[in-house]
Amino acid sequence: MDFDAIVVGAGPAGSCAALELARAGKSVLLIERGPFPGSKNMYGGVVYPRILDELVPQWWEEAPIQRWVTRRSTMIMTPTQALTIDFRSQNWAAPPYNGATAYRPDFDHWLAGKATDAGAQLLCSTVVTGVLRDAAGAVIGVRTDRPDGDLTAKVVIACDGVNSFIAKEVGLYGKVDAANYTLGVKETLALPKEVIDERFGVRGREGVDFEVVGCTEGVNGGGFLYTNLDTVSLGVVLKLPRLAAQKKRPEEIIASFKKHPAIAPLIEGADLKEYSAHVIPEAGYKMLPKLVGPGLLVAGDAAALCLAAGIWLEGMNFAMASGMYAGRAAAQAVTRGNTGPDGLKPYLEMLNSSFVLKDHRKLQHIPHLVLSDRVQNQYPAFVANIVERMFRVDNPAPKPGLRRIVREERKRAGIRWRDLLSDGWTGMKGFS
C-alpha cells in the first residue's frame, strides 16, 4: 500500500481526519481538488469550533477568524414587517468564545496546515475520480485525474463534500432525493469596518449573526446575514424542489431580500465582491447515508452531517468532529490491521456517543418542521400581525385582548388549531 490512509478533500472534515492520523504516526495523504485548501469552498456561515479544543488547544489565538459572534438575531419577516429576537452576550467576546465568522480559504488553509505540520502530505489541484476496489469489493485506494493517477491505501476517508461521488460510488447512499437538499446562495458585500461596527452595534472583533425566516418569496428556506471584518455575507437558503417549481432565480430572491426595509439600511452603499452558490444537505438524520463501508469512512458534508434546525444552523463543527473521529477510528483500525467494516465500526460508536449523532437524532424532526409550508408561508405573517396589532394604538377603539388577536389572526392566516398544536408539539419535542 502507498499510504496507511488517503483522505479525499481538505475541508474541515478532511483536515481533522488527516491531523488525527498523522498524530497517530500513520502515513496519510490529503488530496484536495483546489489549488489550496479552502479555495473551492463556498461558505457564509458561523463556525462553532469548540471541537477544536481537543485538536488545537488555544486555537482561538491563531485561527484566522474574522469576528467573534456576540449578537444573534432571529428575524421573522413578511414583505412589510420584521420581528426580531435579538440576543447579545459579551461572554462570547472573550476566550473560549462561542461562534465566529471566517473566510473559508483562510480557515481551511490554516487547518490543513495543522495536518501537514503533524506529518500529513497534502496534494492539491488533484481530483479523485473514483475508488479502487479489490475482488471482494473493499476500497483499497483512489483513482485521480492525473496521469498514472492510482494510489492505494489501507483506509480511504471520503470528505469530498455534499454530493460525495465516492460515497455514492460505493453505494452508501440510497436513492438521492432533491427534497433533502437546499441551495445556498450568498453575496459578499464590502463595507468599511467602522460602518459595519456602527450599523450592527458592535466593536472591535465582535460580530453579528442574523437568521431570517419568511424572506424567500414563498420558496421554502431562509435568509442570513453575517458580519466579517469589512464585509458582510448575505444570502438565502432555498429548498431545491420548491425553487424549481416556482421557477424563480436565487439572485432575484436575494435582491428582494436586500431591498427589505429591515435589511436595506444595513447594507446601503456596499460593494458586491463575490457571489457564490452551494448545495447543502439539510434533511438531517433522516438523510444520513451509511457512514462506514469496507475500507471506507465518510465524514462531513459527504456524510450529510449538517444540522439545519431553526435556531441551530451548524455544519463545520459536525464536519470537524466527524473528521476527527474518522481519523481516530482509521488510525486504530490500521494499528489493529483490520480495516474491514468491523475494524472501522468504532467510528460509528464515536459518532453515536458524541454530539454528532446525538444532536442529529434528537433534532431529527426539526429540519422538516422548519422548512414546512406552514412555518415558511403562514406563521411569519401570523406572528408579525399579532405583534403589530399588540403595538398598534387604535384609539378611540379600546385595546383588544391578546386571545382575541390570536384567534382573529389565526383565522386570517388560515391556520387550523390542529396544525398549530401539532407543529408546537413537534417543536417542543424536538427542542426539549
Binding site: F36, S39, Q121, L123, T126, D145, R146, P147, D148
Partner: protein
C-alpha cells in the same frame, strides 16, 4: 546539454501567495522546454528569480518533468537587465542549448528579459514566437507588425520567447506531483534592489491629444475614423549621425506618448 525554462512568479498585488502563479506564456515556455529536452534528449532546468513562494512554480515544473530547479532568491522588484543577469549567473557554466521564456510577464510586461538574457549569455534570440516546429532543426514562426510573420531556423544556443497560446502545459503525473513536493530546489543569492518605479502596471502609451480634423469633409471623416492616422504623413527620410538619430528617435517616441 541543458534546456532552460525561465519562470516568473506573480502574486496579485492585493492577494497573498496562495493566489500566485506563472503567466500562460511562462507555462507555454515550460512546455516547450520539456518538448525540446525530450526531442534532443537533454536535461531540463527550471529557473526562477523571486521570493520563496516561487518554489511553488518550480515544484510544478519538476512535477511536469523538469530535472532540476534553481531559484535565485530575490524579494525585490528587479529591472529586466538585473533579472537577466541573475538567470545568466544561475546557468553560468552549464552547456545550454535553448532557453525558453514567456514572451512577457503579466505585471510589468515589457518582454525585455529574453533579449537581455540572450545578450548576456551570448546566444541567438528568437522572440515573440507563435509556433515552434521541432524536427532535425528548430523552426520558429515569429509575429511581426502588420500581420506579417517571420519563419526562422534557430540553432543552439538560443533564447526563445513564446506566446501563451503556443502550447498547453502538460498535466503532471501523480508520481511526479508527489515527488516534486519534497524535491530539492537549489537556491542562489540574488541581487537586491534596483531603480524601478513602484507602480505595477502593463506598459502602454500615454493617451495623447489629437487636434481637430482638418481639410475636406471626406478627409475629416477619414481622420476621425482612423484616430488621426489616416491623414498623417508616414515618416520623413532623414540622414543623421548616430547620436542625432538617437535623439530624434527619442523625441519622436516622446511625441507619440511612449516615454
Amino acid at each position: 546539454m541543458t534546456v532552460v525554462a525561465c519562470l516568473k512568479w506573480l502574486t496579485p498585488h492585493d492577494a497573498d501567495d496562495r493566489f500566485g502563479g506563472i503567466s500562460p506564456a511562462d507555462s507555454s515556455a515550460l512546455e516547450w522546454a520539456l518538448r525540446l529536452g525530450a526531442a534532443r534528449n537533454e536535461q531540463v532546468l527550471a529557473v526562477a528569480v523571486g521570493p520563496a513562494a516561487a518554489d511553488t512554480a518550480l515544484r510544478d515544473a519538476l512535477a511536469c518533468g523538469a530535472h532540476r530547479a534553481i531559484r535565485v532568491d530575490s524579494a525585490d522588484e528587479l529591472s529586466s537587465n538585473d533579472v537577466a543577469a541573475a538567470i545568466a549567473g544561475a546557468i553560468d557554466g552549464l552547456d545550454v542549448s535553448f532557453v525558453c521564456c514567456g514572451d512577457y510577464s503579466l505585471d510589468r510586461g515589457t518582454g525585455s528579459v529574453p533579449a537581455f538574457l540572450a545578450a548576456q549569455i551570448g546566444a541567438r534570440q528568437a522572440l515573440g514566437l507563435i509556433e515552434i516546429v521541432l524536427g532535425n532543426e528548430v523552426i520558429a514562426l515569429r509575429r511581426l507588425d502588420g500581420g506579417r510573420r517571420e519563419r526562422l531556423r534557430v540553432d543552439a544556443p538560443a533564447v526563445l520567447s513564446v506566446e501563451g497560446a503556443t502550447a498547453t502545459l502538460r498535466r503532471a503525473s501523480l508520481s511526479g506531483a508527489l515527488a516534486a513536493r519534497t524535491a530539492p530546489i537549489d537556491v542562489l543569492a540574488g541581487p537586491v534592489g534596483s531603480h524601478l518605479p513602484t507602480a505595477r502596471r502593463p506598459y502602454r502609451p500615454r493617451a495623447r491629444v489629437l487636434p481637430p480634423p482638418q481639410g475636406e469633409t471626406l478627409d475629416r471623416v477619414r481622420s476621425l475614423l482612423s484616430g488621426g492616422t489616416a491623414t498623417k504623413s508616414h515618416g520623413v527620410p532623414v540622414e543623421l549621425e548616430p547620436e542625432e538619430a538617437a535623439d530624434r528617435i527619442i523625441a519622436a517616441l516622446d511625441e507619440w506618448g511612449y516615454s
